[in-house]
Amino acid sequence: MKPSIQINQIGKTYGDVMALSDINLEVETGELFGLIGPDGAGKTTLFRILTSLLKPNAGEAWVEGLHTVKDYKKIRRIIGYMPGKFSLYQDLSVAENLTFFATIFGTTIQENYHLIKEIYQQLEPFKNRRAGKLSGGMKQKLALCCALIHEPKVLFLDEPTTGVDAVSRAEFWQMLKRLRERGITIMVSTPYMDEASLCERIALIQGGKILSVDAPEAITNSYQKPLYAVRTADYYRLLNDLRDTDFAERVAPFGEFLHLTTREKMPEQEIKDFLLSRGHSDIRLQPAKPTIEDVFLDLMQTT
């Protein structure tokens, strides 16, 4: 079967600045695909190329078999796009925004209500409120409704959860899962590593290049280096002390623990002894399961 999104050696520069270079990706129909990377990694540029808004300098891409440059008119009929910046009419009410976007896609809210029902029900109490007066989470739900109302085959969501509270973020991902069950291909970008595990497959992107593409578990499993979670009474001194050692390859803060990657596998007692010698107390040390963030930092370091 043909992939829903196919990207072949896409590159884009703005003047002298390289935004994307040699991007190759395939996203299957009905897949929930995550683009994970920090701000400025090139996620938005890739979205704008795939939604046919931006011409790439190199390479080609197809969405549902349609060429993003040659068939841009056809692409615009079958995709839904939610830009990173809130881009609805702030001075129009919730209902007016949704009606407008339904109409320009030649449909009505009633016709496709089943698609947005679950999301829209939460918005319904505020349907006469101006979009600009909604909370961050509500804005994102409305934007998703507007992107969905014409039943797109492929949905592009650029950082839909940025600036949204933790509860709304969780809800948002629940919605995406249900949409995927309807067979809609979803490409979503996020700077939050913890959201990566909610996707079926992810691409780690940094500096305009893709570092790795795989299922989230496969990516974390690929991390073969010894990893420990450490904490002591003095968190900050611990960070500095570990970074000074020869055996530590990388020390990164991770919640209340530090993630310590050592160059070679070594007995836990050896590390504990070192910490005791440095005068640390309340030492807790255990092997840690690698996360996407560990992989990301590792890939960034090696490339």
């Binding site: 615009r76 796009y81 881009s87 407008f100």
Partner: protein, 369 residues
């Protein structure tokens, strides 16, 4: 297609009606402009301060003074005894026009030898000074005629002036056409460029582009409300001109309104073109000011006559749409001219519209580089 268009127009109307600033510009500005121009930019004057040095103090000089002040145009505020005192009054700004009647005015004047009256004006305001001296000269000539009604002066060339179309030189006859041209240009072009730039700024333009909408429909949907509103504005200004300032429409009103619509299209096309070249409302605003407001005010012949401009500015004035529209307006409103008389300026506007629309279409980006 039609449904989409209506939805678009409706959305645009919401934007306009919900933004106090837009509403103020749309409806407050035209009325303010008409009133401001109507009562300030005018060559008519009443009660100008005059100082008269009457060195003759005879019957005839008193008759002359009575005639000058009786008209209501001049108000005698000072009667200095000599020229030095008059100069002091000028410096103090108390008088704008000085009239010096020489000694033995009656004796020489009636004796057939002739006499000289001196007019002095404060030319720090050149236009006002010229108007005052012209008016005073005319009144003095009239006075002379009245004194010798039958007698023909030897060797004198009699000049008879007739001011066609506007015999009383009413200022409103000039400024109402000018204000209509200015308002239509500003509102249609500036508001259009702003409204499109706003969609770009807020990112909604991207959403519109990533939809099956034809770009022509996007533009059409956005400008249609402004066409209607600008047209209403033109009607309001014409009505105000007629009701408040007695500016007539001597020719065909239908023809005038039809050409109004044509001029509107030119302005809109210009607005769209500006918006394709600006990514933010601020740039659009600056460009509108630079490209529209100043040239329309200064180079259209609205305030300063084109004939007295340097050659280079005269040349530039040829590409100012307002220039042609003002010509058309004056021809229809004041001269009562018909279709044939305005065919050429109308043709130029039509050509401008097509060129600008083509340029706007070409510059409107549906895919970014």
């Amino acid at each position: 297609m039609l449904k989409t268009f209506i939805a678009f127009v409706k959305k645009e109307m919401y934007h306009i009606l919900r933004d106090v600033r837009t509403l103020l510009i749309l409806f407050g500005m035209p009325i303010a402009l008409v009133l401001i121009f109507g009562y300030t930019v005018t060559n008519e004057f009443k009660g100008a301060s005059v100082g008269i040095v009457d060195q003759a103090q005879d019957d005839l000089s008193r008759q002359l003074i009575t005639k000058l002040t009786a008209s209501g145009h001049f108000e005698l505020v000072r009667k200095p005894h000599n020229i030095e005192a008059l100069e002091a009054d000028f410096r103090a700004g108390d008088v704008k026009l000085g009239i010096i009647i020489p000694p033995d005015f009656e004796k020489y004047f009636l004796g057939g030898e002739g006499s000289t009256i001196q007019l002095i004006s404060d030319a720090t305001e050149p236009n006002y000074a010229v108007t005052l001296t012209n008016y005073a000269s005319q009144m003095i000539r009239d006075f002379q005629q009245e004194q010798f009604p039958t007698e023909q002066m030897p060797y004198a060339v009699a000049i008879e002036n007739r001011m066609f179309y506007n015999p009383e030189l009413v200022g409103a006859y000039n400024f109402i056409p000018g204000v209509v041209a200015l308002i239509l240009m500003l509102i249609s072009a500036m508001m259009t460029s702003l409204t499109i730039a706003r969609e770009k700024e807020s990112g909604t333009m991207d959403l519109l582009l990533v939809s099956p909408l034809n770009p022509v429909l996007i533009i059409l949907g956005k400008v249609t409300p402004y066409v209607v509103l600008s047209f209403i504005n033109a009607l309001v200004v014409f009505a105000m001109g007629w009701l408040i300032f007695d500016v007539p429409v001597r020719g065909s009103l239908a023809l005038l309104l039809a050409l109004c619509l044509l001029y509107l299209m030119v302005a809109l096309a210009l607005g769209i073109l500006i918006s394709t070249r600006s990514d933010s409302q601020q740039t659009a605003m600056m460009m509108s000011m630079f490209v529209l407001l100043m040239p329309t005010m200064l180079l259209s012949g609205f305030i300063f006559p084109i004939a007295s401009m340097p050659a280079i500015l005269q040349f530039i004035s040829k590409i100012i749409p307002a220039k042609y529209f003002i010509l058309i307006e004056k021809a229809i409103m004041l001269k009562g001219a018909g279709w044939e008389a305005i065919a050429i300026p109308a043709g130029v506007l039509l050509l401008m519209m097509f060129v600008l629309l083509a340029a706007a279409r070409k510059n409107f980006k549906v895919v970014y580089d």
